[in-house]
Every structure is written in C-alpha cells, then in structure tokens.
C-alpha cells in the first residue's frame, strides 16, 4: 500500500522544524527514520498532509556525558545506541532493549526519539527508559522543558509533547553498578513483544517497566515497592500485573498477559541477581 499524498518539507534546523509545526498545525507530522510513521501511513491509519523531515538534523544525533547521566540526541539511531560503549557500560539495559527492536535493517533507520514520540505501549524502548528513570527534553517556540518519563506517555499513541514541540534529547541516569535484564516474550523472531519487561536492580532499589501491559508503557510500581521493602524476586514479581489493564488480542488474553508479566518480571529479577 502507498501512503495518501502529502507535501514533504525538509527542516534544516530544530528551530525550523518547530516553526514548520507552528505553520502547519495538526496537519503536519515529523518524520525521522519513519519506521513507526511510514507503516501507519501505508495502512492509512495516519494521513498527515505535510511531513516535516528532521532526518538530516545531525546535531541531534549523539551520546554525550552529562555528569550523572547520559545525554542521547533524539535522532540517534537504534544501531548507534545498541553498540555505544557508554550506553553499554552506564545504562546497559537501554542497549539491550534497543538491540531487541525489530531487526538490523529497522535499527539502521529507527531513532530513539521516534520510538518514544510514537507512544506505542508495545515498543521495547519505553520500558527500559521507565526502569532507568529517564527524562525527556522537548523544545518548542517558548524554549525547552524537561518531562519525567513517568509523565511522558499519556494515552495509546499519545504523549505529553505539544503540537509545536520537538523531542530533542533523552537523559538517562548512569547506573554503572546496577544489574539488569530485558525480557521479551514473542512467538517469532522480530515480532513485537506479547509482553516484555525491563528490570533494573540498583542496590536495594528496583526499576521495572512493562511492555504491552496497558494502553501506555507501564511502570510496575508495586514490584518496585516490594523490592524496596526487601521482598524476594518471586514475591515481588507476584505484584507485576497490579494496576495494569492489558489488552486482549489474538496472541493473548488479559489473564495470559498478567501471567506473562509475573513470569517475565520474576525471571528478570532473578537474572539481575535478586
């Protein structure tokens, strides 16, 4: 299938992208690698009349040291994150979750900013950013603001980004001494997770993010609280589906997803040494 017709405009800078969004309003969509947006447009689930191409904004492609955190440019490709030495040593969970996205070809095109701005609860990367307690930076006509990852995902394919805002950076706390595990349950290589879990254990604290367990990427807060109060892996993982409203589809019922969340979180906690 071919997308509905649109005008294609290339932005030469972040400022120009923001001003083009202002000019075209909700008719416009930003496109980076396009690996979330182009499939939607091909299925005619999205039909923006203007595409603002930000794929050439090379100054938003980086991994930098920000002191106690890593700064990752929104246009950094999955491939570049998955092999980055600083990401691997300081936030290894993110490198591992990223390596699980799609396949090599997809990771050569897809970007971290695009993956989270898409707001898909079935995406792997948001779960890792929840577990790592990342912060998202958005730029708009009035300047820059920081959005904690817990406030970023607001609904199915919806985020806190305003209509004229551009996601520019993701800040990921450095946790070189943490142990972690990324668990993904799917039926075939390359499939989306039926359920997935990002598990990070840092001393007596845990960070747990779930994939495909609600209409948004979900923090398993009850598991984190149980670990903080000294529970073992099996006991803490029992709370993995607490407060979640997972979808039912041809792959899994609600009950099966709840079961998977408990199993995957337990495996993740055990793999992370709890």
């Amino acid at each position: 299938m071919i997308p509905a017709a649109f005008d294609f405009v290339r932005a030469g800078s972040a400022e120009e992208a923001i001003s083009l969004l202002g000019e075209h309003g909700d008719e416009a969509k930003l496109i980076a690698g396009g690996h979330s947006l182009i499939p939607l447009m091909r299925f005619r689930l999205a039909a923006p009349s203007v595409l603002v191409d930000i794929g050439r904004l090379d100054d938003l492609k980086y991994v930098r040291d920000g002191g106690d955190h890593l700064k990752i440019g929104a246009l950094t490709r999955h491939r570049d994150i998955e092999i980055d030495d600083d990401v691997k040593s300081q936030a290894g969970l993110l490198a591992e979750a990223t390596a699980n996205v799609g396949d090599n070809q997809v990771r050569h095109r897809g970007t971290i900013g695009g993956a989270i701005a898409h707001g898909d609860p079935a995406s792997d990367i948001p779960s890792a950013l929840l577990a790592l307690r990342a912060t998202v930076v958005a730029s708009g006509p009035d300047g820059e603001r920081e959005i904690p990852i817990d406030d970023f995902f607001t609904g199915f394919l919806e985020t806190a980004l305003g209509e004229t805002e551009l996601l520019t950076e993701i800040r990921v706390p450095k946790v070189p001494d943490a142990t972690w595990s990324f668990q993904k349950f799917n039926r075939r290589a390359q499939d989306w997770a039926i359920v997935g879990a990002s598990v990070l254990v840092n001393g007596d604290q845990a960070g747990v993010g779930l994939v495909n367990m609600d209409s948004v990427p979900l923090r398993a807060g009850a598991v984190e609280a149980a670990i903080a109060s000294g529970a073992d892996a099996a006991t803490a993982a029992d709370a993995a589906a607490e407060g979640a409203s997972p979808p039912a589809d041809l792959n899994a019922s609600v009950e099966y997803r709840q079961h998977l969340a408990r199993v995957l979180v337990r495996r993740g906690l055990e793999a992370a040494g709890r």
């Binding site: 071919i2 649109f6 396009g34 499939p39 447009m41 090599n104 070809q105 095109r109 390359q190």
Partner: protein
C-alpha cells in the same frame, strides 16, 4: 518533487510524488527490478538494499528521505565484468536458494551483516538475518553461505 539518488554508483534524478517509496523509485523510476517486493510491511526483507552502505528495507523508506544519498541494490554488487561478489558466489556454491525470491534481500542483508560483524558465529548470522524471511525453509544453506563468505576473506 525531484529526487536525486546515486544508485549503484550512477547519479539518478527523477521527478516523483513525495509519497513514492524507495523500493518503487528503484524498480519503477530507475528500472532496477532485482529488488523484490515481498510482504510490503517491513517484515520480510525481500526489498533490502544498502543506504550509504547499511542494509535498510526499501519498502519503509521514502525516496524523498534519501535525496542526495547513495543506494546499492543487488545489481550493484557484482563487478562490471560479471565476477560475482563473494557473497553471491557463496550463495551459489552453497545452494543457498530455492525459488530465489528472498535472495536479493538475503544477499544484501548478509553483506551488511559482515560489514558489522566480519567473523560471525552461526548464532550471530541467524540473529543478524532475522529481518529476512525465506518461505522455502532454506535457512540452513543461507547461514552456511554467509559463514563461508565470512571465512573467505570477505
């Protein structure tokens, strides 16, 4: 809109609709039909080409996005005198194809894989090719061919 792409070393420029997918640009505007369209949903990898040297699925890239960049298709792999690329030669010798439909994409993905992992294990080859489907169930010989190409001083 005018889209200029260097395809297999030759600069091409065509006036196409903004919504033209790279695979259609390659097949219809450039007339290079070695790149196949399979699933059309970025799953099967039959349309894999190299964009600035890296494997991508050309059914999920807009031609407009790659304006000014370099694309290599299966037609651009062999030498001008017809000498096959080592990966093509290995596919030939290992009988790494049956119907051949997935083969252009498999070869392009495999060349890109060895650029990133020059001496892969069998597991790394299998994981590295997870974005390419063969419905003749021919993976065994495909993996063998990639390992042979890697060992052959690729």
């Amino acid at each position: 809109m005018e889209v200029q792409v260097t395809v297999n070393g030759t600069s091409q420029s065509h006036d196409v609709e903004a919504r033209t997918l790279l695979v259609h640009y390659i097949r219809e505007a450039c007339g290079l039909t070695g790149t196949n369209i399979g699933c059309d949903t970025s799953s099967c990898g039959a349309c894999t080409v190299h964009l600035d040297g890296e494997s991508v699925k050309s059914c999920t890239v807009l031609a407009a996005q790659v304006d000014g960049q370099e694309v290599t298709t299966i037609e651009g792999l062999a030498d001008a005198d017809g000498t096959l690329h080592p990966m093509q030669q290995a596919f030939h010798e290992c009988h790494a194809l049956q119907c051949g439909y997935c083969t252009p994409g498999m070869v392009m993905a495999s060349v890109s894989l060895l650029d990133e992992i020059p001496n892969p294990s069998e597991t790394e080859v299998r994981i590295g090719l997870e974005g390419n489907l063969c419905r003749c169930t021919g993976y065994h010989n495909i993996v063998k061919a990639v390992l042979q190409a890697a060992g052959g001083g690729q």
